[in-house]
Structure formats: structure tokens, C-alpha cells
Amino acid sequence: MKTVLKGASLFALTMLAASGSALAGKADDTLNISFTKELENVDGYFNSSREGVIMQRTVWDSLLYRDPETGEYKGNLATDWKWVDDVTLDLDLRKGVKFHNGADFTADDVVYTVNWVVDPAHGVKTQRNVNWMKSTEKLDDYKVRLHLKAPFPAAFEYLSGPVPIYPHEYYAKVGPSGMGQNPVGTGPYKVVSVEPGKHFVLEKFDGYFKDSPKGQPKIGHLDIRTIPDINTEAAELFSGGLDWIWQVPADQAEKLKEMDQFTVANESTMRIGYIDMDAAGRTGEKNPMTDVRVRRAVAHAIDRQAIVDGLLKGKSKVVDAACFPTQFGCTDDVTKYDYDPEKAKELLAEAGYPDGFTIDFYAYRDREYAEALANYLNAVGIKTNFKLLQYSALRELRMKQGTPMSFQTWGSYSINDASAIVSQFFKLGSLDTARDEEIKKWLDVADSSIDPEKRKEYYAKAFKKIADQAYWVPLFSYNANYVFTKDLDYTPTTDAIPRFFQMSWK
């Protein structure tokens, strides 16, 4: 037994290290990629996964493009745009752009796409992406007018992201499922074949318009497979069956890096993890979480630095405020709770729980992190009933009856503004567990003000109170690992959207 175990693991490692990437994709100009999740529908309006976002950027174009480096908005399918008033935007469209099926891109495509997706009856999956628009009208063949429902400061953010433009005749004919199976866009890559959820083959679109802010695609073919298991991905990587994988867990990335056979790149993402507690007492008046001393005890009980060092690694950082540090309005100047289990026990005793208590602790992802959190809580006497639910089930539970305590994460849709996180959860909505009127008032001011300094001031007030009252225990920021062949030239971005059209062979 002993020798078998030892042999197997040693052997596995040496074999891995020894095997070269014989079939690397550079030779046949094909980048072999794997997704870990099955992409439900390539039609970007009908999926809500990260894989879908990647495909959407690769196969389609939006009206605008946001440069991931500078954050500047550039014209993509539009060349120029101008606000007529707060709710009306005129856009000049680019001439000479062709869809993959040969059709010309004109105002009709924009009008059809927007008017189709804003109709709730068509059931676009993420309504938030489209429901701020009212309609579009055609001014001439290359000019459209977009009507908004209400003033919407983030309009450019959305126009440059999740609102791709479809060829109107084709989409009218095939609809979402047809588009999912035979996608047609104007983007840098065209789709050659789709096996739903399993396999996608893309090819460089030679007719891609020259002035695109995305640049021209350089790699000839993209071959995307779904491989849900990291071991399989790694095995394929070693045998040369894959050239690029991502979302590699920290432990595996570390091992792969040690072998020095691939490029292992790490980049932080905007997602942060936090513990949400039922401060408002929705799950019962006597819920211990209604006591600020208990919530502070929770904050002191957790060794966040150890979790970052031991589990997340990479560019992850401990966060103290309920926001990602680079977000506009985020501040570090809040009450900090250091790891101090003794103090946590004292606080619990003060609150009337010298022997701790038992509580339901929910989580929906990153079981490992959640388990580590639960163990820290158990260590100071907060005995957790650990419950891992599907995201949807937990969300429903939180909205309907609340949960005493849960491990949550939020990626702010990669929007670099504190409103994308704090205003989402502290304005008395169904997921607001603090239900603090004062914070809501401050956030209202911060969200609607046009004066940046005033916004900062009011967000800061909110973050300070959240930290002081320990409504949340902010934990850490996430990171993403990318592992790819050394032949590939690629630098990940913080928005965690891989742009295949910007990759090239060395």
C-alpha cells in the first residue's frame, strides 16, 4: 500500500514533468481552450455565465468598446455619439462593417436588436442588461436614436458590454436557439461549429473591420471544449491537447508553476467574499446576530490573512470595507478587526453567550473557504450548522425568510464603482440584511450626486458605519489563475474577461 501510494504520486509527477507538449497549437495555428462550465446558449442575451460573456466579446461587437487598460470608451460599431438630453442618445454607426454571413451592418440591425431585446416578453435572461433602454429609432441608414427609460449614468458601460448587435434578418428568422446553434455576428472570430455545451470551433474572421478598437484577430482558429474537471484539464495540458486554461484553483496553479513548463499568470478580480449576518433580525428577534458585539466577535474570530495566504494565494488581499479597493468611492479608512479569538470569546461572553451558540451557516460556492470560515467560528464557540446550497436556492431563502449567517461573494459585474456593490445590498432591498435607514439615505445621496467629492464623502460614511456596526464581515478579494503554453503572448485583465482576439503566438 505504502509503496504503491508513494510510487503512484512520484510517478505521476515525474511523468507530467517529462512529457513535452508535442501537439502544441502553435504549429497548426489553433488555440485549444477549455471552459469548465457548459455554456447553455451562445446567444449572449440568453446566458448569464462568464463563458457567455467571453464568447459574446469574441463573436460579436457592441456599439462601444471600453479599453480594459485605460477604461476609456471607444467607438466599436458606433463611431460617434452624443446625448440629446438625459434620456436620448444619438449614435453614428460605422460604415462598411459586414456580418459573418455577408450581410451589411446598418441601422436596421441596431434598431431590430435593441427593440427586440427590450421587450420583456422575449425573456432576455439578464433583464438588468437591457431594461434601462426604452427603444431605438432609425434616423438614417447609419444613424440611430436610443431612448432610455430614465437617466442612466452607466449607459456606456452597458453599451460597451452586454448589448451586442445582431443581424436583423437572420435573427428574425432563427431566434435565440438558432443564434445559439449557428451564431452570426460582426466580431473578430466567426463560429464554425457548435455542439451545445460541449464544443465550439471558431475561425478568424478575415473580413473583420480594420478600425476596430479591439484590434485584429491574430490566431487562426480557436477550439473550445468543455472539460469540467481540473485534473483532466491539467492532464490535457501536459499532453498538448490544450493550450490555455483558466480559473485554475490556487493549489493546482502553484504546482503547475513549480514545474515551470507553462506560463502561470495570476490577476485579481473585482469579486470580494464576505460574511453576511442577520443584523435586522429577520430570522427571529432573538437571533444572536442582532447583537453588534456578536457580529464583531465574528469579525475577530476569523484569520483572514491565513485564508488569503493558505487558500486563495495569488493577488488576493484582505479587505476591510464592503467594496473592492479600486472601486470609485471605496475607502480603506474604516474600523478594522484583527484576528483575535480571545477577544471574540470575550465579546461573545459580554453579549450573554459565554458558551457560544449554534447557528445555521450557509454558503453557495467555494466550499473550501466556507469550511475554513466555519472552522474558525467553531473555534470561538459559534457552532455552525454548515449548509451548502445551490446559488439559486440560497438566494431564494435569503429573499424570502433570510438566513442568520452566510458566506457570500459579489463581483460587482466588474463595474469599477462602489455603487455596484454597496448600493446593491444596503438600500433596504430583499437582500439587505442590515436594513439601516441611515445608510440608505447616505447611499441615495452618493448614487445620484454628480459631484465626485460629495459621492466619495457619502460612500465613506456608509462604509464606516457598515464596518463599525459589522453588518458584513468583508473577507478577501478573489483572483484568477491562467495557465497557458509558453508559446502564447497574453496578459490577463482585472475584469476577468479573456480576449482571445488580443492573444498572439510568440
Partner: protein
């Protein structure tokens, strides 16, 4: 479908007269071996707090996945190494025995109660009762167990109680089938007829005449279903819908180790072997008991 059920039963609960021969040579040895090892595992489970070198829940995030002692970097402090949260693997394995035995035992108890009740009722009363019970058994057999268990656990969330209950409510079929046919055979026996003739109540006949005579085959089915429940829980845990962490179930330990399959294969090998041994000895015990208690063998 009655014939099918018998076929399934014959195959699953196994040996027919032919195996009696083997029983004499191997069965008793298997029985002995199974019994002794199972007893040892039970003792380990009972004495877990005494035997475990560390607290199975105490984590050390900076000492994760340390290899077992026979590797170069292993130390005697953690003879089987540490897991992905830096918890002592040996201690988790020892406590895990409790979980596996608990799941197997209680699930077999629940399914045994349901199955025996249904089987005895069908066998004793016959007629419409039998038709209904047979139908229910057929429905149950037609349901894909793993899939249904997964779906139910996904709906209710996988706590230890839910998993045990789901397994208990799903695995009664073999009890029902075996108890039904055993009771049928007994029903026409003279002493049962005699008891009925002198006016004994149904419950009295069932408890004092029928039950003592089917208890042998009941015990055999209990062992089989215990093994079945343990394996199924492990499979559920492996698929991510079993008992919840930090409970150290062996299936969960394999599932957790799977992530590092490529780099640290010992993480799945250790709990996998434990699981295998436990199920093996329960099966050996069951086979042995069956051989010993088979009527042909008594003659």
C-alpha cells in the same frame, strides 16, 4: 413482473443452493474475517475521541496537504498527512468511520422497517395488499436511485439527517422483496394455520410465528443494505450532494481529495481504501451469515 423481482432478488441477495458448498470452505472464514474486522472498525469508531491523535476539525491553513509519514516530507505528527485545510487525516479517517457506520446503520434500519412492514403485509395477507405492495416495489425499482437521491438532496440540502432519510426511504426494496417471499412460504405452514385456527390475532401470529422465522434472512439483507447505503452515500458525497462539511465522511474525503488527484493521489487513496475495506467486510459478513443460516446448510 413478479418473476423479474425474484430474478433480481436471487441475483442481488445472491447465492442459491450452489453456494452452500463454497460456504463450508470459505464462508465461515469470510464470516470470521468480516466479523472481526467490522468489530474492529466499530471499536475504532466508538473510541474515536480516545484514538484520534488530533481534533478532526481543527485546521491549520498554513500546513495544508502535508504528505503521510512514508513520504520524504511526512512526519509522525500527522501519520496520514493533513487534508486541504490542514486537518489531521488520520483523525478524520477515524471519525469518518462513525459517520459511515451511522449512515449505513440508520439507513438500513429505516429501510428495514419500511421494507419488512410492506413485505410481511404483502406475504401474509396476499390478494389486494400483495398487488398494491408489488406495484409499489415495481415503481421503486424503476426509479433510478442515484438520480432521485441526488435530486432530492439538491432540493433539501445535504445534511446528515437528510442523506440518511433519503437513503432509508429509497433502499427498502430488497427488504420488501425478500420478506414478502419468506412470509409467503411461512403462511401456508402448518403451525401458522394452527395458530390461526385457535384464534390468535393477526399481530400475534406475525410477531410470534412469522417474525422469528424470517429474522435470519432479515439480518442478511440488513448487512447488504448497510453496505449499499454506505456506498451510495459515498457516491452522493463524491458528486457533491452528500453530507456537509466539515463532517468527515469517507466519501466526502475522496471527493475533496479528487481535486488534487494529479498531484497528491494519496489524498483519495487513503479514504478510498478505508471505504473499500468497510464495505468488503460487511459483505463478507453478510455472505457468511447467509451461508450459515441457509436452511440447506443446517441439515
Amino acid at each position: 413482473m413478479a418473476k423479474t423481482i425474484e430474478t433480481v432478488e436471487a441475483a442481488l441477495s445472491g447465492p442459491t443452493p450452489g453456494q452452500v458448498l463454497r460456504g463450508r470452505i470459505f464462508g465461515h472464514r469470510g464470516l470470521m474475517f468480516g466479523g472481526v474486522v467490522l468489530a474492529a472498525i466499530c471499536i475504532v469508531a466508538l473510541l474515536a475521541p480516545v484514538l484520534a491523535p488530533h481534533d478532526p476539525y481543527s485546521q491549520n491553513l498554513l500546513a495544508r496537504m502535508q504528505p503521510p509519514v512514508w513520504f520524504d516530507k511526512g512526519t509522525w505528527d500527522h501519520p496520514l498527512g493533513t487534508d486541504h485545510l490542514g486537518r489531521d487525516y488520520l483523525s478524520r479517517l477515524i471519525y469518518g468511520a462513525r459517520i459511515s457506520l451511522l449512515i449505513g446503520g440508520v439507513a438500513a434500519l429505516i429501510s428495514g422497517l419500511i421494507g419488512t412492514l410492506m413485505g410481511v403485509a404483502a406475504g401474509y395477507f396476499g390478494g389486494k395488499v400483495d398487488t398494491v405492495v408489488t406495484f409499489i416495489i415495481n415503481v421503486r425499482l424503476a426509479m433510478p436511485v442515484v438520480l432521485v437521491a441526488l435530486a432530492v438532496v439538491a432540493v433539501f440540502g445535504g445534511s446528515l439527517q437528510v442523506v440518511i432519510l433519503v437513503l432509508g426511504l429509497l433502499l427498502w426494496d430488497r427488504f420488501a422483496v425478500v420478506m414478502r417471499s419468506s412470509t409467503q412460504q411461512l403462511r401456508s405452514m402448518e403451525y401458522v394455520n394452527a395458530a390461526r385456527a385457535i384464534g390468535c390475532s393477526t399481530s400475534r401470529i406475525v410477531f410470534s410465528e412469522i417474525m422469528p422465522n424470517i429474522v435470519n434472512s432479515l439480518i442478511v439483507v440488513v448487512t447488504l443494505e448497510m453496505a449499499h447505503a454506505i456506498l451510495l452515500e459515498a457516491a452522493l458525497s463524491f458528486l457533491g450532494l452528500g453530507v456537509q462539511p466539515p463532517t468527515p465522511s469517507w466519501g466526502l474525503m475522496v471527493a475533496e481529495g479528487k481535486k488534487m488527484l494529479l498531484f497528491e493521489p494519496w489524498l483519495i487513496a487513503i479514504p478510498g481504501v478505508a471505504l473499500f475495506v468497510l464495505v468488503l467486510v460487511i459483505n463478507l459478513l453478510g455472505d457468511g451469515l447467509r451461508d450459515v443460516s441457509a436452511p440447506e446448510n443446517r441439515n
